[in-house]
């Protein structure tokens, strides 16, 4: 009796290890798959429009996804915990407007002060989300659908009491330079996004809190049971998402120079598309920053290709929707395949 139950136990463990190994393999394949998709897009488009394939254009693509990528890193932290943050577009819009307005009113002030202001505002809005979700026990979808509109309303209140639009000529050139400066020939915007991706990617991979974030997403009850402070981690994920949105807002103002109350509306759809295309599981618990960066670059490349092939930009939103659906359908099919493979292996054994 004991030997058989031990054997069963061992077999179970083995199959779990197998499943983990297979899923790990699948996620590697996912990143490889994204690279292949990227390559295919590049090949097809450059056959039709050779100017697509230039260093200049490549830099343009990276520039256009840099801000999206920063927000997507924050969104990844939230999705990993089995939640979602729909309010990112509104937080970016709010911080972009306030930061630009700050520089308009006080053109002589320190650049760093403005950046810190934007980041702090984003952090506060993200913390409000986190409080409502993890301590108010409101599902993330309800909480952040609410704050999506509430934060956007705040932008309108601020702009109706101050100015409807801020132009490039209103803000000091040192602020605008944030988006145009080059370091070693690489635009600062791209470098900032890359540095953030590396830091957060390393944190997720190697730090204790990072690993705990995954465990909260893959099994919230079990995570609670082994003493992981789930509420605090979820709260921290939303706060971090807000902070990164704040930074993205500061950069948004610098990059687009003309800022009004509607900027970054609908950004959440592009961000969620990048995250799920990048292979982050919508049920939480798996996904990598590298994948998300590739996801963002694929979306940016597609957008750029639409531009170059003279396809109407009206296709863009439909494309984001199709990308979200395509990615989650693919994930579901792969998960099914993995489970089926393991099942048939177990039967053979």
């Amino acid at each position: 009796m004991t030997t058989t139950s031990q054997e069963v136990e061992r077999a179970k463990q083995r199959s779990q290890v197998n499943q983990a190994r297979l899923l790990g393999l699948v996620s590697r394949v996912r990143e490889l798959g994204l690279l292949i998709v990227l390559l295919l897009i590049v090949l097809t488009v450059s056959v039709q429009a050779p100017r697509f394939l230039s260093i200049d254009n490549f830099e343009q693509i990276l520039l256009s996804v840099a801000i999206l990528a920063i927000v997507a890193v924050g969104e990844t932290l939230v999705v990993l915990t089995r939640n979602v943050d729909l309010s990112v577009g509104s937080i970016v819009g709010f911080t972009a407007f306030v930061t630009a307005y700050f520089f308009k009113q006080l053109p002589g002030s320190n650049l760093l002060l403005g950046i810190l202001l934007g980041c702090a505002l984003g952090l506060v809005l993200g913390m409000v989300n986190g409080l409502i979700v993890s301590f108010g026990r409101v599902p993330a979808i309800v909480a952040t659908l609410g704050t999506l509109y509430a934060y956007r309303g705040l932008v309108f209140i601020v702009s109706s009491n101050t100015t409807s639009q801020i132009n490039a000529s209103d803000v000091p050139s040192s602020y605008l330079a944030l988006a145009t400066t080059q370091i070693f020939g690489i635009p600062a915007l791209i470098l900032i996004a890359a540095v953030i991706a590396v830091i957060v990617g390393y944190f997720l991979h190697a730090s204790q809190a990072g690993r705990q974030l995954y465990s909260v997403g893959s099994n919230p009850e079990a995570a609670n049971m082994i003493g992981i402070r789930r509420d605090w981690l979820v709260f921290a994920a939303f706060a971090a998402s807000g902070l990164l949105c704040g930074l993205a807002g500061v950069l948004w103002g610098a990059r687009f120079a003309t800022v009004d109350s509607t900027n970054a509306t609908g950004l959440e759809l592009a961000v969620i598309a990048a995250v799920v295309v990048g292979g982050v599981n919508i049920f939480g618990g798996s996904g990598t920053i590298l994948g998300v960066m590739l996801g963002a670059i694929v979306l940016g490349t597609l957008q750029n290709a639409l531009n170059i092939l003279n396809v109407s930009q009206f296709w863009l939103q439909a494309l984001y929707g199709a990308a979200i659906l395509g990615a989650v359908v693919l994930d579901a099919l792969i998960t099914r395949w993995v489970q089926r493979t393991i099942l048939s292996r177990r039967k053979k054994a």
Binding site: V84, L86, I132, G136, R137, V138, P139, I141, V142, A143, L145, G146, T147, L148, Y149, A150, R152, G153, L154, F156, I157, S160, S261, L269, I272, A273, V276, I282, F283, S312, F314, W315, L316, Q317, A318, L319, Y320, G321, A322, I324, L325, V328, V329, A332, L333
Partner: protein, 331 residues
């Protein structure tokens, strides 16, 4: 007596109170608030949201959500406009628009049931997809040359009353939905599914098929709302009703429907619809712009879930304290 007491402490009683409060504030703010025309304005303004809230109530009770309704409204409105503009008869245009709603709802339902994907993510995807397709179909143009017979139905009233035609449609739908949810086997099944999906499946409910039907119904009703919206504004634009999903989800949750499924009533949702309608009306009397109205609705959405949660916690604390006091007395 007992039933009266349980009603007075219920969520619905609180909603009645809120509605009365809103009407009171409205009539203090403006002498025209209680006029017939204002009743017409107030009702016709909320009707698309109101009819979309009916299938949404069923979907949320069954434990799912459909965030794509507003985008589908926009898409069907655009399809309707395009077909009319290209010379097709109105009945055909309306028919195709409804068909588009049905097919789009079916896509939502199939993705949720056949692939076991969470409806939240599926409908965020189709929220983007359907709105995007609306832009693809019509670009940044608008169709506004609709026949007067059609637009008269949109902003006319039922002869002899101040009720818009859409109000009649809503009333008929409410009766049907109440019959289904509260007086039929299907209705009981929806609650069972929302409370415990596995148990519902083992007790012989075809969960997948029922959910698929719900999403198809939601798509069809969103298309109907699209037709009504187009008639009322005499305009088909791809950005019609952007953000209405916020309002639809808000009235359902404010109506006391549990976001995790399994609990709620249509009485509460209908009351919530009128509360939001009065709120909108009061805001426009105060000259508060639509974007700032959305802020209030967003807060209302969060509060309608957060409020009961906090109340429950306070109850627990009080109960604990009583328990502690009781035991200390014994000692």
């Amino acid at each position: 007596m007992k039933r009266l007491k349980s009603f007075l402490t219920s969520w619905e009683a609180l909603l009645v109170l809120l509605l009365a409060l809103g009407i009171g504030i409205g009539s203090v703010l403006s002498p025209y608030f209680l006029s017939g025309f204002n009743f017409y304005a107030l009702t016709s303004n909320i009707m698309e949201i109101a009819i979309m809230a009916l299938p949404m109530t069923l979907i949320i009770i069954a434990g799912e959500i459909d965030l794509s309704v507003a985008s589908l409204l926009g898409l069907t409105s655009v399809v309707l406009g395009l077909l009319w503009q290209s010379g097709h008869p109105m009945w055909l245009a309306i028919g195709v628009a409804l068909l588009v709603g049905l097919v789009a709802g079916c896509l939502n339902g199939l993705l949720v049931t056949k692939l076991a994907l969470p409806s939240l993510v599926v409908t965020i995807g189709t929220l983007a997809l359907y709105r995007g397709l609306a832009y693809v179909v019509l670009g940044d143009q608008a169709v506004s040359s609709f026949p007067t017979a059609f637009t008269n139905l949109g902003f006319g009233t039922i002869p002899g009353t101040e009720l818009p035609w859409s109000g009649l449609i809503f009333a008929i739908l409410v009766v049907i939905f109440v019959m289904v949810l509260h007086f039929s086997r299907l209705g009981r099944q929806l609650y069972a599914m929302g409370n415990n999906k596995e148990a519902a499946r083992f007790s012989g409910i075809n969960v997948g098929r029922v959910k698929l039907m719900l999403f198809i119904l939601s798509g069809l009703i969103a298309a109907l709302a699209g037709v009504i919206f187009t008639a009322r504004f005499s305009s088909a634009r791809p950005d019609n009703a952007v953000g209405f999903e916020l309002y639809v989800v808000t009235v359902v949750l404010l109506g006391g429907v549990n976001i995790f499924g399994g609990r709620g009533s249509l009485l509460g949702v209908v009351l919530a619809i009128f509360i939001v309608a009065v709120l909108q009306n009061v805001f426009s009397l105060l000259n508060i712009s639509g974007d700032i109205q959305s802020l209030a609705i967003g807060l209302l959405l969060i509060l309608s879930v957060l409020g009961p949660n906090i109340a429950r916690r306070i109850q627990v604390v009080i109960a604990h304290r009583r328990l502690a006091m009781g035991s200390s007395k014994q000692v």
